[in-house]
C-alpha cells in the first residue's frame, strides 16, 4: 500500500506534557525517516490540543506519543477525544512510547491506542508494526 502512487507513510512524533526527555523521540524520528516515512516532529512540551491540531492538519497515518512523565493516563485520553472531535480517531494509528506500567496498558488500549512500546523495544519491531498496521485510506 505504501508504495502506491509514491505514497509515503506520514507520522507525527509527539512529545506531550512536561517531561523534557526527547532522546527517544529523536531516535524514533530518525529511524522512521530512514525507513522511508515522512516524519513531523512536534518539539517538546506540547499540550494535548497542540498534538491534535498537528495530527489533524498534517493528516498523519501514525501518531507516536512519547511520554516519560507518568502522566499518560491523563494526557492520552485528552488526545484521543481531540482526535475524535475532528473525526480523525478511527483512521489514525496511535502508538505510545515510554515507561508505561503494565497495569495501565489495557486502559490505554481501550482508549484506542494500538500499541504501547516500552524500553527495550527494537526499532525494527516498531517500524514493522507501523508498516503492517498503518491505516489503509
Amino acid at each position: 500500500m505504501s508504495e502506491q502512487q509514491g505514497r509515503s507513510i506520514r507520522c507525527l512524533v509527539a512529545k506531550v506534557g512536561l517531561d523534557g526527555h526527547d532522546r527517544g523521540a529523536h531516535v524514533i524520528a530518525r529511524a522512521f525517516r530512514d525507513a522511508g516515512f515522512e516524519v513531523i516532529y512536534s518539539g517538546l512540551h506540547k499540550a494535548p490540543e497542540d498534538i491534535v491540531q498537528a495530527a489533524v492538519q498534517e493528516d498523519v497515518d501514525v501518531l507516536g506519543i512519547s511520554i516519560l512523565s507518568g502522566a499518560h493516563n491523563t494526557l492520552v485520553p485528552k488526545i484521543m477525544s481531540g482526535l475524535e472531535e475532528y473525526g480523525a480517531k478511527k483512521d489514525t494509528l496511535v502508538l505510545v512510547g515510554g515507561v508505561i506500567p503494565e497495569e495501565d496498558k489495557p486502559g490505554l488500549k481501550e482508549e484506542g491506542v494500538a500499541a504501547v512500546f516500552g524500553p527495550g523495544t527494537s526499532m525494527e519491531e516498531t517500524i514493522e508494526f507501523v508498516r503492517s498496521n498503518a491505516p489503509d485510506r
Partner: protein, 357 residues
C-alpha cells in the same frame, strides 16, 4: 468524481479541517481521481493572497513565517501555511521540522500548517504545491504562506506560485556576486534581511540596495534611511491609484523577537496593491496557469510514455543494448518516438480550445 470525493469537497467548503487535510494528502499522493477533485476546487478559488518565503537553510524562514502568521491573525485574517522540506533521495523519508518553529500560533486552528516533503518528481512538487494552495484558497484562507528552502530551480518554481515572493538574506551571506549567482534578484519582490541585530546586517542591506539599483538599469534608487532597525524603502509610497512600478524594498527583521515583521507585512500589502494597480496580478496569474498547463501536459505525456515503455518490456533491455554498443540512446529515443509523431500529426489541438466543464 467519486462519491467519497464529492463528500470531501463538500466538507472542505464547509470548513472542516479534516477534509482540507485529507484533500491535500490526496493531492500529494496523486490518488486516482485527485484531478477531478482539484479541478472542481478552481471555481471556489481566487480570493487568497499568496506569499512565498524563501532563503538559505537557517535564514530564519520558519520563525519569520510563524511571526507573520501571528500578525495576520491579529488582523483577523485566517492563515494557511505550506512548509516544504527536503526529503532523502535515498529512502524518500523526511523529517519535516518547520512545525516546531510555529509556536506563536499553536492551538489556533485558524492557522492551518501543512508540512510537505520534496518527494515529487521534477516539476511535480510545484504542481502539488499550487494545488494545495488551491485547496486552502477554496477552504477560505485569507492569506497563504508558502515556505521553502531557496536552493535550486525546483524551489524557485514552487515559490513562483505565490503572488508576492520574499527572499530572506541572512547578514554576512557573501558579497553581491554570490547573490547574483543565486539568481534571487529576479524572483524577489521583497528582500528581508533577517537577524538584523547581527553584525554585518547593515552591510548586507547596503549590498542588496546596490544590487537592486544595478538591476534597475542604473536608475538611482533612493537608499532611504537605513539606520539601525529602520526600513530602507526605495519604493514610492502607494498613491491613491497605486504605484505603477515596483522596486524590491529591503526590510530588516529580527524574527525571533518579532521586530520588523509589521514592516514586512506593509511591504507585502504594498506589493499586492502594486500588482492590482499595474495589472501585473493578471499577468502573473496568466503566466502561472500557462506554466501549470505545460507542466500537466509534460507529466501526462511522460506517464503515457512510461506506461508504453513498461508494456514493451521496460528500459533495462534497451539500456543493455546501449551498454554492449549495439545502439545508442538517441537512436532508441528516435525510434520510440516515431510512432508518437505519427499520432501527433493527427492530433487536434483545436478540440481543446476553451473546453469548459
Amino acid at each position: 468524481m467519486s462519491e467519497g470525493h464529492e463528500q470531501l469537497l463538500e466538507d472542505l467548503l464547509e470548513g472542516k479541517h479534516r477534509a482540507l487535510a485529507r484533500v491535500i494528502s490526496k493531492i500529494e499522493n496523486r490518488v486516482p481521481g485527485y484531478r477531478e477533485l482539484v479541478s472542481s476546487l478552481y471555481e471556489h478559488t481566487g480570493d487568497a493572497n499568496v506569499i512565498g518565503i524563501t532563503g538559505s537553510p537557517g535564514a530564519g524562514k520558519s520563525t519569520l513565517v510563524d511571526k507573520l502568521a501571528e500578525s495576520y491573525r491579529e488582523q483577523g485574517q485566517t492563515v494557511g501555511v505550506i512548509a516544504i522540506d527536503p526529503s532523502s533521495p535515498f529512502t524518500g523519508g523526511a523529517v519535516l521540522g518547520d512545525r516546531i518553529r510555529m509556536a506563536s500560533t499553536i492551538g489556533d486552528m485558524d492557522v492551518f500548517v501543512r508540512s510537505m516533503s520534496a518527494r515529487g518528481t521534477l516539476g511535480g512538487l510545484s504542481t502539488a504545491t499550487a494545488d494545495a494552495v488551491k485547496a486552502m484558497d477554496a477552504f477560505g484562507k485569507d492569506t497563504i504562506i508558502i515556505e521553502t528552502v531557496g536552493a535550486g530551480q525546483n524551489e524557485i518554481d514552487i515559490v513562483r506560485t505565490a503572488d508576492t515572493v520574499a527572499v530572506l538574506v541572512p547578514p554576512g551571506s557573501g558579497d553581491s556576486v554570490q547573490t547574483l549567482k543565486a539568481g534571487i534578484l529576479e524572483i524577489a519582490d521583497v528582500f528581508i534581511v533577517n537577524k538584523a541585530d547581527r553584525p554585518g546586517a547593515n552591510r548586507t542591506v547596503q549590498e542588496l540596495l546596490e544590487m537592486i539599483e544595478l538591476g534597475e538599469g542604473g536608475q538611482p534608487a533612493s537608499t532611504g534611511h537605513h539606520g539601525a532597525g529602520a526600513t530602507a524603502e526605495p519604493s514610492e509610497p502607494a498613491s491613491t491609484d497605486g504605484p505603477k512600478t515596483w522596486t524590491p524594498p529591503v526590510v530588516e527583521t529580527v524574527a525571533t523577537e518579532g521586530t520588523g515583521v509589521g514592516d514586512a507585512i506593509d511591504e507585502f500589502d504594498a506589493h499586492r496593491t502594486y500588482l492590482e494597480a499595474s495589472g501585473k496580478l493578471a499577468d502573473r496569474q496568466q503566466m502561472r496557469y500557462a506554466e501549470e498547463i505545460r507542466t500537466l501536459l509534460r507529466e501526462d505525456v511522460h506517464t503515457l510514455l512510461e506506461r508504453e515503455l513498461a508494456a514493451a518490456g521496460g528500459v533495462d533491455a534497451l539500456a543493455e543494448a546501449v551498454r554492449t554498443g549495439a545502439t545508442d540512446p538517441y537512436t532508441i529515443a528516435d525510434t520510440a518516438l516515431d510512432s508518437v509523431e505519427t499520432c501527433l500529426e493527427e492530433l487536434e489541438l483545436d478540440g481543446v480550445e476553451v473546453a469548459s466543464k
